[in-house]
Point group: C2
Chain length 338, copies 2
Amino acid sequence: MKQPNEIIIDALELSNWDREFVHLLQKGGVTCVHACCGLWENARETLHNIGQWHRFFQENDDLIMQVFQGSDILKAKQEGKIGVILGTQNTSALEDELSFVSVFNQLGLKVMQLTYNNQNLIGSSCYEERDSGLSRYGKLVVQEMNRVGMVVDLSHVGEQTSLDAIAVSERPVAITHANPNWIYPTKRNKSPEVLRALKDNGGVLGLCAYPHLLNGKDTTLEEFCSMIIRTVDFMGIDQVGLGTDLTLNMSTDFLHWMRMGRWTHDVDYGAGSKENPSWPEWPSWFRTPKDFPNIAKGLMEQGMTGEDVSKVMGGNWLRFFTEGFKDKKEAEKCAYPM
Amino acid sequence: MKQPNEIIIDALELSNWDREFVHLLQKGGVTCVHACCGLWENARETLHNIGQWHRFFQENDDLIMQVFQGSDILKAKQEGKIGVILGTQNTSALEDELSFVSVFNQLGLKVMQLTYNNQNLIGSSCYEERDSGLSRYGKLVVQEMNRVGMVVDLSHVGEQTSLDAIAVSERPVAITHANPNWIYPTKRNKSPEVLRALKDNGGVLGLCAYPHLLNGKDTTLEEFCSMIIRTVDFMGIDQVGLGTDLTLNMSTDFLHWMRMGRWTHDVDYGAGSKENPSWPEWPSWFRTPKDFPNIAKGLMEQGMTGEDVSKVMGGNWLRFFTEGFKDKKEAEKCAYPM
């Protein structure tokens, strides 16, 4: 049922990478993953994370390659490698320095989520009580990201900051990993207003298998695929992809870092809860990247055409990243056909 | 007219300190100055600034001493030295690390303004278009500042963040340098709502001679003293002091750093304007710290009693800092009589 030449792109994974994990990606037919390279880290710490990735790329250059532009995704496919897009789930790496947008872009951080779970210099997160939208610095950062071809990601970003960022951005933006909040109501999932603005902006939404953003581990494949189809109905077939938020091989220490950073001495549960404080258990149909074909199969079983399935599994992200990673001048020269 | 034993405290100066400047403070009868030790600096850079102050304290220990608690102000007075309270006009030194409150408190940063001119992890500034108030991290920081006895300063802080901080703070807070906005309307000056909340909180407001927060250099001493008296009428005699924001010996480079940090590549004018872009010219009656007695004289000429003048010139800040610099347990043990 799975087409062997299909391109599968996962727009966000948080997993801890080792060779075994890469083999699981290969078994799942995955072409490219946007890998999380920072949550709360400042500039110096982000350089460390990038350095660790350099070592991992070097040691595994038979299996993986870093993606700087869309053609690298196709090259990875041709060479049978996994393409890795590095990005951060925060703008903390930029600190207060506008010039750091182009510096980190040059290092290949091609996606930056404007905020992680807390307010920062740029905007507010979905977990803050109030959200005053993009700050003055935030507007300059979005414009500079537009200029250099670094993709704006709004996944954990608050409602008003998301709407502002879409309004300020002259280029399509991404929500790499979130679901519609009218299907699964959580603070992390997205309102119709934000998704409508994303649609009008030409952006892409990556639907997310993270159990806390669904109905937990008992969410069935049918339910997940039904959400995909309902979201396609709302957003259009060209603007929906996957961003699983897969968290394989992750420690409890990392969970605490992810949720609490250094900003609180008490436990913050993020998308979890007091009753459900740990790494979530994943649904049976998506335990490792080997399971990507299950999603394609599930979509076809609900009547989606092969062409549409290909768009959702990776075609839309391929188009979006190809266009989005170009610097603005280049993008204006030769716009990728929508 | 000036009482020789009077205590004069300036709750904020940005000046570039050298021995000559200290001599001017002595000539003005100044007992204690809260000196700005950071605007946009991160933790590492703030350590550098503190280190520079260590060297300056060492080289000038015949003239100045660092103030860690109220009794140090009295000690400075007795020894004929200038007491220096170090503080920052931002919480950027804390970065995202709650524990840094007690670390920097131990180093003697006894006052921190929650935001400088931009939104940060904690709240919004008076120059942002919108202000969503204290963030989740911001609340924890205010509580921790309360615990260790680091004074919360709201001078450049936005309206909602100021109101939130006053509501969250279990101890009196300061506005070290700002004026009522109904007397001199600028974004940097304070609304009746904020000053009423400050009054109810038991805080102190430092009235500011920075020309951009008045009517420029032509503001007369009579007008400045009239503002003080009107503010005392509004706030009560125990809650008004001085925070001149004096900027002696400052370079144009520093002006650019002050206004633009690293967050913008374009000029931001802060309290200045395109028409008035430079360091402001100070009014004739307040050009150097030697001129402090002019203010006391001006107040008495408008009929303020000697006792009240002493409160405004330094008595209120002495009481406030004595109480505010105690850690919470100590403050609860022996509250300074209001």
